[in-house]
Subunit: 342 residues, 2 copies
């Protein structure tokens, strides 16, 4: 079936579009009462991730309710470590917890690159979404970047300092490379299956990029992201290396089409440093706490700052769960209206 | 009494020194068994902060044990909100917790700029330290930057997103300015008293600088740091705006002498963007997990990167509590030995 709205795909490929396309990181989730209604019927977040019909339902909600130009499949970056052999629990209000973690060479024997079939529930959810969307907007697939997934597999959860994961880079680079290599291989297979199932664009989230010293990020972060970008030529790829402001020149050399910017990053500088890339972002998610007038002003500033460069409007980070959906609708309307006039 | 080792003060003022001075953020603390022995005799962290004789003892420990070129007074940035009327508890392994927080204009009535005398225990600790050090090395005083203190007073503790504090900047800028102004006034008085008591240098820690969008950091962060810098002319001032890599040009215009860099920041770029400032930093604290050979290599790289610019060696962040003190001693020796040869 052909897409009725392919704005985001054209923008990702660097083409001119009649207006700026817009979607929102974490748009499918807790901000919507309709999502919470589905979630409340289940035992937890992971049951929702693993129930394709319901994952598809919450994936489509923001398209209907917020009017965004893309659906991002409702899932979790941690399906990769789980498929590799490390199960996790999602602890309410605390985040993920892995009872088993990786610290030594022998721990690597506990895991495997991962049978792609173990993530069938994700592909199934994409297929159902595709059917139900009926070409209204494209579907974005995603995965965590190898460094971020590595961090979870070593730390066993979130961390302020990530010092266990970072310690390994100094003390056992060979083993770190081996694990990063396994994650990369697993991720490539995973993304390819998502594309086969119907994802028309994929995003790689490197949530913990900003914690690494620049030389380590080149060596242990971008090295592996680059392998993923090189392996995916079927659809446009977006790289979002949160906090890695210093790496823009290097990111410009990756074979991805779009680069996500967080809200600290200056769009004008990014346009200069990433001349080959479509830019995505980068409104501060806290703008949604302000009144409509301020939201409109901030959208204007954002559109103006990205002017003259292929741009996909978004936040500079996942939306905060206590955001009022009415504000988000207004943001989407502002982007549509104001970018159309330009 | 005259100082026997004033390397750090001369470096801070931009002078040439026979070798690079070195100290370590959080050098007085959990990494030293000698510190833990003192701490274990007490009810908690806050009792140690409020007992001048013991605070002085742990302040001097790293000078004796690690061989650093300065003592930083053992205290806490949260003595300011406490003196302003918000008491806090230090929860073991979790961090600070404020039962009362500031959210509205009327909450401002609960607090006051703060009688400097309420922090007498800090000044007393500096006096004792000064006496005991007998001029061996200078004493560094410190305070949190207004934005960081504001965050704690609004959030009531640490946060992943700081969305309550950041929300206020969008929804009630006038009130935010009022609170930031009160914190600034309180901090200026506090630092001046520390200097009177014997601090020969002061550092302003803006731990949460990196969370703000650049325009907000200019408006709500640097605006107030600038007032503090302008008010303190007695001793050299160091500004450490963690994560605010985009603000280097603006920070170069502050009337401070030294600028702290975190481990993401490129010293070569910093030298260009901060031509008027001594630079402090910026080894990755995770380097201490590596073997001696790697530590030496990293120190060499750091010294080389800062070459030709006034430099105070340090980490790019507070040292992690599980660091082996032997590694830290080795780091200090490496800086002394390698910078002497240059």
């Amino acid at each position: 079936m052909s897409l009725k709205n392919d704005l985001i795909l054209r923008a990702a490929r660097g083409g001119k579009t009649e207006r700026t396309p817009v979607w929102i990181m974490r748009q499918a989730g807790r901000i919507l009462p309709e999502y919470r209604a589905v979630r409340d019927r289940l035992s937890g977040f992971k049951e929702l991730v693993k129930t394709p019909e319901l994952a598809a339902e919450v994936t489509i909600q923001p398209v209907d309710i917020l009017g965004v130009d893309a659906a991002i499949i409702f899932s979790d970056i941690l399906v990769i470590p789980e498929a590799m052999g490390l199960t996790y629990e999602m602890v309410e209000k605390k985040g993920p917890y892995f009872p088993q973690t990786i610290h030594s060479q022998s721990d690597l024997l506990k895991i495997e690159t991962g049978d792609p079939d173990k993530r069938n529930y994700v592909y199934k959810a994409i297929e159902i979404t595709k059917n139900k969307l009926d070409g209204r907007v494209p579907i974005i697939g995603f995965a965590g970047a190898p460094w971020t997934i590595f961090s979870y597999m070593v730390e066993g959860g979130g961390s302020k300092t990530f010092s266990k994961a970072r310690r390994l880079l100094y003390t056992n680079a060979a083993m770190a490379d081996q694990l990063l290599g396994m994650i990369t291989e697993s991720t490539i297979g995973y993304l390819k299956h998502q594309i086969q199932a119907g994802a028309e664009m994929v995003q790689i989230f490197d949530s913990w990029a900003g914690i690494l010293p620049p030389d380590h990020y080149t060596r242990f972060g971008l090295e592996y992201i680059s392998k993923i970008c090189d392996a995916i030529s079927e659809v446009p790829v977006t790289v979002f290396a949160k906090g890695a402001w210093w790496a823009m020149e290097e990111i410009n050399t990756l074979s991805c089409q779009t680069v996500g910017l967080d809200w600290n990053m200056n769009p004008k500088k990014a346009k200069r440093k990433l001349p080959n890339k479509t830019l995505q972002g980068n409104l501060d998610p806290c703008v949604f706490y302000a009144d409509d007038h301020s939201i409109k002003t901030e959208v204007k500033k954002m559109l103006h700052a990205f002017e003259g460069h292929p741009h996909i409007a978004n936040l500079g980070h996942g939306i905060y769960p206590d955001t009022d959906p009415e504000k988000v609708k207004y943001f989407v309307e502002c982007v549509k209206e104001l970018s159309h006039q330009r």
